[in-house]
């Protein structure tokens, strides 16, 4: 990646140089993220919570001689659904808006790179940084489980890690959408928080109220609930653990019996759709918005 290679690519951007530009931005983003206070704080908070939840959920099972990884997962699930979207949305929201507020966006876009390359590079870099942060938290949590529970299911834990990373990337792209339309970090973060509140609490609570008031049928309730990426994530993890959603009552049982083996793929599909569509929206909005 010498200076010559980049400069020769200026007149006619080739895919190769585009990829190089994206990777350059990604590396810069990883470096910036890792050295930032935000990253250290998030990693620390997530690690402490993951380890704490693992310890607490194992404490109850110790007396009876069998360890329930399912309980640990249930505890971790709640914590993940609160913390990880918050981390990812905040990271995404701050990305482009931050450059814009500092005035560095002007500087970056003066370089021979396209807006899309900048966006993708930032996305990739933040995603990698987030993944690393989650890996550290889960690694410590797995260490606690290995030391205390022994027979805990490593494959199930790995599945949980994979799903959580997917959730982080999805929420990151939602955060990018917020970021490209915001002028200031404060605004972007505020909107990000609102999105977080809406996805984590408001939509579920509203759907619960709707289920009671409108007497929603199970299939309607399930489909509407599944469209929320957080619910899709939760159901995906539970399906991987239990091979069935019967933990989630009539609606879950309906889903398991109707969709069977395609259910996990449906849920992953919902998550991927959220991620891809959000990122595409961010790209389109960023290119349309001519102001810097």
């Amino acid at each position: 990646m010498s200076s010559g290679a980049v400069q020769t690519a200026v007149p006619l951007p080739r895919p190769c140089s585009a990829a190089r530009n994206v990777i350059s931005f990604a590396r810069r983003e990883v470096r910036d993220a890792v050295s930032s206070r935000w990253f250290v704080l998030c990693t620390g908070a997530f690690a402490v919570l993951a380890v704490g939840v693992s310890f607490m959920s194992l404490a109850g099972s110790g007396s009876s001689g069998f360890a329930g990884f399912g309980r640990t997962t249930a505890g971790l699930l709640n914590m993940i659904m609160l913390i990880v979207p918050l981390m990812a949305l905040a990271a995404g929201a701050g990305s482009i808006a931050g450059e814009r507020e500092r005035g560095t966006l002007l500087y970056l876009l003066a370089q021979p790179v396209s807006r899309l390359e900048l966006l993708l590079g930032k996305y990739l870099g933040l995603g990698i940084a987030l993944t690393g942060s989650l890996c550290i938290g889960f690694g410590l949590s797995a260490g606690v489980l290995a030391a205390k529970a022994g027979g805990a299911d490593a494959a199930a834990m790995l599945m949980l890690v994979a799903f959580t990373c997917l959730l982080a990337w999805v929420m990151l792209s939602v955060g990018m959408v917020v970021s490209v339309v915001s002028r200031k970090v404060a605004v972007a973060t505020g909107v990000g928080l609102f999105v977080w509140l809406a996805l984590v609490f408001v939509s579920d609570l509203g759907l619960m109220a709707g289920a009671i008031v409108f007497k929603l049928r199970v299939q309607e309730l399930f489909i509407v609930a599944m469209l929320n990426p957080l619910q899709a994530f939760k159901m995906g993890v539970i399906v991987q653990m239990n091979a069935s959603l019967d933990v989630l009552g009539p609606a879950g049982m309906y889903a398991s019996q109707t969709y069977g083996r395609t259910l996990p793929w449906m849920l992953v599909g919902v998550l991927l759709a959220w991620g891809v569509l959000s990122l595409a929206a961010a790209g389109v909005l960023f290119q349309r918005k001519k102001s810097i």
């Binding site: 990646m1 010498s2 200076s3 290679a5 980049v6 350059s24 590396r27 810069r28 990883v30 470096r31 890792v34 050295s35 109850g60 099972s61 007396s63 009876s64 069998f66 360890a67 329930g68 399912g70 309980r71 249930a74 709640n78 990698i128 690393g132 989650l134 890996c135 550290i136 889960f138 690694g139 410590l140 797995a142 489980l145 290995a146 529970a149 022994g150 027979g151 490593a154 834990m157 890690v161 984590v200 609490f201 579920d204 609570l205 759907l207 619960m208 289920a211 009671i212 929603l216 609930a225 957080l230 619910q231 939760k234 069935s244 019967d246 989630l248 009552g249 009539p250 609606a251 049982m253």
Partner: protein, 464 residues
């Protein structure tokens, strides 16, 4: 010289015949009339050793004999009707492999059907049969150490692995059942059911109008319902294990309109519902007792109809059930007792303390949860379990007591330690894989950290 020749001949003959005795190719199959001829030739009560091999057809035993297969005799019904019928008392049928009954439910074809008792059916293996062992008015019989594997069909179309119909004073022990409908007891009293294993079936042990029975040391897992008692009185369950009975019913133990049921020292683990109680005890003055059990990791530890009354539940360990005790419909369980003689249950979510040091909490355990109350009203809301929204609702109810529902029940004397329940302890698996996962994740995290601290001056040079 001559003796040596004879010896060599005998050896050769032995070598030639040996494979024929071990393997039973299709051409070697014999009709069951060969066995019938042996039975007819034997005096009553005699022992008949059936020669090893494969026999085809339906066997009807009409004389009291001891039939021994020594595990080397296979009787194949060829998919028609009953395979073996025991039509006389005092027959022993032991050590056979029985397979290929009919599959139409209208005539309930069975692997082994006994029309009269007492008979002894032991150490047989039954495969590809609709009903397995079917005792009809065969009192004082013994069904011991048989293995029954049902037909590979939809659960609703399968037959019962072991069925007792009006057969009293029987012993059913050490049987292993898989992929069947039920192990079911109809109108059969004083039956001793112990040490059986039932898995991947509909109802593991199913009692209909069968009174005065003890179930001991049975292990039922992966069924729709572990043990289902219906309209059966004076049943005692001791030291059984019910695990992972899930699905639409999904009860570890279900009790429907039974009097005098005692459930003691069982391990009820990871079922959808641990103990389901529907109108038990039913009669005035009858009891229903659940004590000394381990009820752990179920979605619902105990599910009771609000109309239920006088059920006594004490000295149990309720550990980490998603819902410890739930109401089936709106209402409460205050008509039931959750503490007897000053001893309640151990609740893993109990937040009280024991200053007196007598092993009992000084503050009552009160079951009241807004989300559970909402779920009792609208069961579909269980879809939102394990989510922050559920926590938000619970938090709201705690913060604003006006939102709290009426208590479901109150345990005045909660225990501080769970009871010791004998049983199999699950040995923890190897820690290696989890350790490897831990190391792998930490290395991945560290790599990202290192990538971040790597100088990228070249890249900056390119840009400037």
């Amino acid at each position: 010289m001559r003796r040596r020749t004879v010896g060599i001949l005998v050896c050769l003959l032995g070598v030639a015949l040996a494979p024929a005795g071990e393997g039973t190719p299709e051409s070697q199959a014999r009709p069951v009339s060969d066995i019938v001829a042996l039975i007819e030739a034997a005096p009553a009560g005699a022992t008949v050793d059936v020669p090893p091999g494969l026999y085809r057809g339906s066997l009807r035993v009409r004389r009291p004999v001891v039939l021994l297969g020594h595990g080397q005799v296979t009787i194949d019904g060829g998919g028609q009707g009953n395979v073996v019928e025991l039509l006389a008392p005092n027959i022993t049928f032991q050590g056979f492999t029985v397979r290929g009954s009919g599959s139409g439910v209208d005539r309930e074809p069975a692997g082994i059907r006994a029309e009269t008792g007492p008979v002894i059916i032991a150490e047989n293996r039954l495969e590809d049969v609709l009903f397995g062992i079917d005792l009809r008015t065969a009192s004082n019989s013994v069904v011991r150490n048989n293995v029954v594997v049902g037909k590979d069909m939809d659960p609703g179309r399968r037959g019962d692995a072991i069925c007792l119909w009006s057969s009293h004073e029987c012993v059913v022990e050490g049987n292993r059942v898989r992929q069947a409908r039920d192990m079911v007891f109809w109108y059969s009293e004083n039956v001793d059911v112990r040490n059986n294993e039932v898995s991947d079936s509909r109802y593991g042990l199913h009692f209909m109008y069968s009174h005065n029975t003890t179930l001991r040391d049975n292990h039922v897992w992966g069924n729709s319902v572990g043990v289902y008692l219906m309209y059966s009185n004076a049943i005692t369950l001791i030291e059984n294990t019910m695990e992972r009975n899930r699905g639409p019913s999904g009860y570890g133990i279900g009790i429907k309109e039974c009097d005098d049921v005692e459930i003691r020292s069982n391990r009820i683990i990871a079922n959808r519902v641990g103990v389901y109680v529907d109108n038990a005890p039913l009669s005035q003055g009858a009891f229903g007792r659940v004590h000394q059990n381990l009820i752990a990791y179920n979605e619902v530890g105990m599910l009771m109809a609000p109309s239920n009354h006088s059920q006594q539940t004490w000295n149990n360990g309720f550990i980490e059930n998603e819902q410890q005790v739930a109401t089936n419909g709106r209402g409460n369980l205050l008509a039931n007792e959750f503490h007897v003689d000053g001893r309640g249950n151990y609740w893993s979510d109990y937040a009280g303390f024991d200053r007196a040091g007598d092993g009992r909490g000084d503050v009552a355990y009160v079951s009241q949860s807004l989300f559970e109350d909402l779920m009792a009203r609208e069961p579909n809301l269980r879809l939102f379990m394990h989510s922050p929204a559920q926590q938000a609702i619970e938090f709201t109810a705690r913060a604003l007591p006006v939102m709290l529902p009426q208590p479901n029940f109150v345990d005045e004397h909660p225990l501080m330690t769970p009871p010791q329940v004998p049983g199999r302890t699950v040995s923890p698996g190897p820690t290696g894989r989890m350790g490897a996962l831990c190391a792998g994740l930490l290395v991945a995290g560290a790599l990202v950290m290192l990538a971040g601290t790597e100088p990228i001056s070249r890249m900056q040079g390119a840009r400037s």
